[in-house]
């Protein structure tokens, strides 16, 4: 990995990798600190808000997570993925808050193989640029948006990390501190529940959106 402190001053921070930006922030670059906050505030907030489901509390917890991140930045191992490290801090901060509020958390059980399952698998093909397909996609997204909020907190976390942040299973396990098999199980169950919510909303294989044949 190149040393970001050796780069020219005109080098845009936007082109730096997350890890290089973190290293630059660690050496005291205020611009790098600002860039780190701006790059990750929305993803971190999204994860925390999905978990605690309270916008004001989510902002406070996001702030706590960033404070912890900056305090611990000296201990960050630049060979690891920075986003996973930060998401782990944010996830733990939110889970601690849920525990304080005694929100029921799922008991880890690995009794399913975690096979890939797409909750949208049964729906008609909505890919395309037609206005009807775009409207149908928005309709499905709105149902999924509400459905995700009905999942258990752990399921919400793995769904957001997998589908919003594109983390792979190993990274999700690292962020959540769960065994890999448990992550797969949670994702499988979450997708199954989301598919059920879609069916309950009348969005199943037999659904005909306007403009569909």
């Amino acid at each position: 990995m190149s040393d970001p402190s050796q780069r020219g001053p005109r080098q845009s921070l936007d082109t730096l990798s997350d890890a290089d930006l973190a290293v630059a922030a660690r050496t005291g670059s205020g611009d790098a600190c600002t860039a780190l906050v701006q790059r990750f505030e929305r993803p971190v907030y999204n994860l925390v808000a999905r978990l605690v489901q309270d916008p004001a509390l989510a902002e406070d917890l996001t702030q706590d997570a960033f404070l912890k991140m900056f305090r611990g930045l000296a201990q960050y191992d630049a060979s690891l993925r920075f986003s996973s490290w930060l998401f782990r801090i944010a996830h733990n901060t939110a889970i601690d808050q849920l525990r304080q509020r005694r929100v029921l958390l799922a008991t880890p059980r690995v009794d399913e193989d975690g096979e890939e399952m797409d909750p949208l698998a049964g729906l008609p093909d909505l890919r395309g640029d037609s206005p009807e397909q775009a409207a149908a996609r928005r309709q499905v997204a709105a149902v999924l948006d509400r459905a995700i909020d009905t999942l258990r907190p752990e399921y919400r976390a793995v769904v957001v990390l997998r589908h919003h942040e594109d983390l792979d299973y190993e990274e999700i396990a690292e962020v959540t501190g769960l065994p890999l098999g448990t992550v797969k199980t949670y994702l499988h169950r979450a997708r199954r529940e989301l598919a059920a919510r879609l069916r309950e909303a009348g969005l199943g294989p037999e659904t005909r959106f306007s403009g569909q044949p």
Binding site: T27, E59, H163
Partner: protein, 140 residues
């Protein structure tokens, strides 16, 4: 799933987040490399160890190489002290004599080296502390 909307913070959150975390941003320091910190730590530990072990080593060496002279020296010291106190010398006179002996020892090449070692160790310890203290304050 890609079209499921992300949760977004309020409009003022970004500025508030930047402002609230700013006090905890790492500060630029003149020498922040791990090697420099390791060198300072090693110097302090080595200097303190050397100063602590030197008298022990000297006494041990005396006993190893010339046990008779060491025992005789210690005994003569006690005899000298008892003799002075018996003769009616005050504590201040004893301390003054001991101080003059110590000053003579410090003026010798070996004593000067020990003194310089002590000053260097103290300076390194203070330099190391001054680097650590801001981080400690930041954690409070």
């Amino acid at each position: 799933m890609a079209e499921v909307p992300r949760r977004g913070p309020s409009a003022a959150f970004s500025a508030r987040l930047l402002e609230s975390t700013r006090v905890h941003w790492p500060q630029a320091r003149a020498h922040t490399s791990l090697q420099a910190e390791m060198a300072v730590t090693f110097g302090v530990v080595a200097g303190a160890a050397a100063l602590t072990l030197t008298p022990v080593l000297v006494v041990a060496a005396l006993f190893v190489f010339d046990t008779g002279a060491a025992v005789e020296g210690v005994a003569r010291g006690f005899v000298w002290l008892v003799g002075w106190l018996t003769a009616g010398a005050s504590l201040w006179e004893v301390l003054g004599r001991a101080g003059r002996i110590a000053a003579t020892a410090m003026a010798s090449p070996a004593g000067t080296m020990v003194l310089i070692g002590g000053i260097l160790t103290a300076w390194l310890a203070l330099a190391g502390l001054s680097r650590v203290m801001p981080m400690e304050q930041g954690d409070v």
